[in-house]
């Protein structure tokens, strides 16, 4: 039976000498990454949880002030390494907004397809890992089998499975070919079966449902008050999806639904993620069949994209353009201003606040990481639940420590 939620833990309950203090992490299989929780327990009931983060802090924002607008894409890749393409899209979306660039239709579509593939990848990991932590091993393997197919597509386009670093200011590293189109078509064809298998394994699974339903309940008011976004907020009934509310890339062209739930518990977050994968497949199917032809990079006259090898070696304009962008004292000349741009990453609103001083590198490259905001919720969600629910709540929030700490 699902446990009754203890409303609020009294102060005097915390001082009892029979309470236990348990150090959860920083190295624990269920935290997946490096984060630490200090739990105060009465028997198996968690009275208080104090998160301790920063184990993976590596100064990404400081590095953003030292690397230029193209180089920094390799660093943002490593923030949320489960769906790195969203970080790239978010970074270059903001940079292009700052510079006032309008992407070519083909670039928008390719970015959209890859971003939605990354979303499926992220949700599959989240769902598979929650199930694994709660004791269901098969569904984890089913999920990871599909993730391989997505990684294969990323490898095809960029040569890198994990960190594609595929976007550039005003375009992409290179154009995609027919192999990519064929692989995406195959994926769209085979993925629904895997998602249906997962659904059948988990949706009515007695153990899974008992361990996630009514656990870690977040109400709509709290979700708004605590700055939640993405599937965590939508599972609590907040109807906000940046793909709908502030359409970027090519999302305006596609027919898809915003997935919401009302319950706000771990089970609702799981259901929202499952349904979002189907919507993502829907978007990919529409995008790949309507992939526009034409260039992927914005016009060379704009002097913002690095020309390809043929243009660099065979034309004087291309050579000059390449030189202008590569030399550290030249590069881009964005307006001296500041700009916030956000995209809907699988975890929620992923935004960058760029302050530009008119040179080729950002003066300040602030990242608004959804994991950071969502992990702040954790003590609130776990209070009064049992210690075995810690992994269910952690998994359903999908905390990626590299993004949390940056």
């Amino acid at each position: 039976m699902p446990l009754e939620l203890v409303d609020r833990v009294d102060e005097d309950q915390l001082d009892q000498e029979y309470n236990w203090t348990l150090n959860f992490g920083p190295q624990h299989p269920a935290t997946h990454t490096t984060l630490r929780l200090i739990l105060t327990l009465n028997g198996e009931t968690v009275l208080k949880a104090v998160p301790d983060i920063g184990y993976l802090h590596s100064g990404f924002e400081k590095l953003g002030e030292d690397l230029d607008y193209n180089q920094y894409v390799t660093i943002v890749d490593r923030m949320n390494y489960i769906s790195p393409f969203h970080n790239e899209v978010a970074w270059h979306h903001t940079v292009e907004k700052l510079m006032g660039l309008e992407l070519t239709p083909r670039c928008k579509y390719i970015r959209t397809i890859l971003a939605e593939l990354a979303r499926i990848n992220d949700h599959l990991l989240c769902v598979g890992a929650v199930a694994l932590d709660l004791g269901a091993f098969t569904s984890f393997l089913y999920a990871f089998n599909q993730r391989e197919a997505v990684y294969d597509i990323f490898e095809t386009v960029s040569g890198q499975r994990f960190h594609p670093s595929f976007t550039r200011v005003g375009g992409l590293m290179n154009d995609v070919d027919d192999v990519f189109v064929q692989k995406v078509r195959n994926f769209v064809k085979q993925a629904p079966k895997a998602i249906n298998d997962l659904t059948r394994l988990l949706n009515r699974n007695r153990i899974f449902v008992d361990r996630t339903k009514d656990i870690g309940v977040l109400t709509k008011e709290e979700a708004i008050n605590r700055s939640c976004s993405g599937p965590v907020a939508r599972a609590s009934g907040v109807t906000r999806d940046l793909r709908k509310d502030e359409p970027y890339l090519a999302y305006r062209d596609f027919d898809f639904k915003m997935v919401c739930a009302k319950e706000g518990d771990c089970y609702a977050r799981y259901l929202v993620r499952m349904e979002e994968m189907r919507e993502s497949l829907n978007i990919i199917a529409q995008a790949i069949e309507n992939l526009p032809s034409g260039p992927v990079n914005v016009d060379l006259n704009g002097k913002v994209t690095i020309p390809d090898k043929a243009a660099t070696y065979r034309s004087i304009e291309g050579l000059i353009q390449h030189f202008e962008l590569i030399m550290t004292n030249r590069q881009w000349k964005p307006p001296v201003n500041e700009c916030y741009g956000a995209v809907e990453s699988p975890n929620g609103e992923l935004g960058f606040y760029i302050v530009s001083d008119g040179t080729g590198r950002a003066y300040r490259a602030r990242c608004r990481p959804p994991s950071f905001i969502h992990f702040a919720l954790f003590p609130h969600l776990i209070e009064g639940h049992q210690i075995s629910d810690v992994v269910a709540v952690l998994g359903s929030l999908n905390i990626i420590a590299a993004e949390l700490d940056r």
Binding site: I53, H57, G351
Partner: protein, 164 residues
């Protein structure tokens, strides 16, 4: 009447100026008025979500007058509108009132700003370092903090094998 006009009418001289760039609307307010403005935005104008809270060190910025800027990004979930409230701070008085009483989500965001820039938030329930270790004495995202170097190790206690 737009949000910016309403704010100007309500607060008058507390609003130093307004800027807009692309789709960002920024309202620059005095540090004393920042809590009042945010409270008004939340309670009367429907900006119910604090989406972003960050700071910028303008030490080497071209034509900068003030040292630090603190930026609050608010979202109106009904209309989808965004507004950025910005305030400037100068040494030695790097203190702002906390907005944890308005949004609980501000808790960790303010801790991060404190950790990285040394800007303190008066009335914050738990203002500790969040990403850097507690023994750390500097504020790494300030522009006078170097990118490279190895001069922090002496600040950390040495734990011998017997003690560990």
């Amino acid at each position: 009447m737009s949000t910016v006009d309403q704010l100007q009418q309500q607060f008058g001289s507390a609003i130093i100026r307004t800027e807009s760039f692309r789709d960002n609307v920024r309202v620059i307010v005095t540090p004393e008025a920042v809590h009042e403005v945010l409270k008004h935005l939340k309670e009367s104008l429907g900006f119910n979500m604090l989406a972003e809270l960050t700071a910028v060190d303008y030490l080497n910025y071209p034509d900068a007058v003030d040292r630090f800027g603190v930026i609050y990004g608010l979202t109106n979930l009904d209309s989808g509108e965004r507004i950025f409230v910005k305030t400037y701070l100068n040494e030695p008085d790097l203190t702002l009132p906390t907005v944890c009483d308005l949004w609980q989500g501000a808790n960790w965001l303010e801790r991060e700003v404190y950790d990285m820039f040394g800007i303190t938030f008066a009335g914050h329930p738990d203002l500790r370092r969040i990403l850097m270790p507690e023994e750390f004495v500097s504020f790494p995202l300030r522009k006078d903090y170097p990118l490279r170097g190895k001069h922090e190790r002496h600040n950390f206690p040495v734990i011998t094998r017997a003690e560990s």
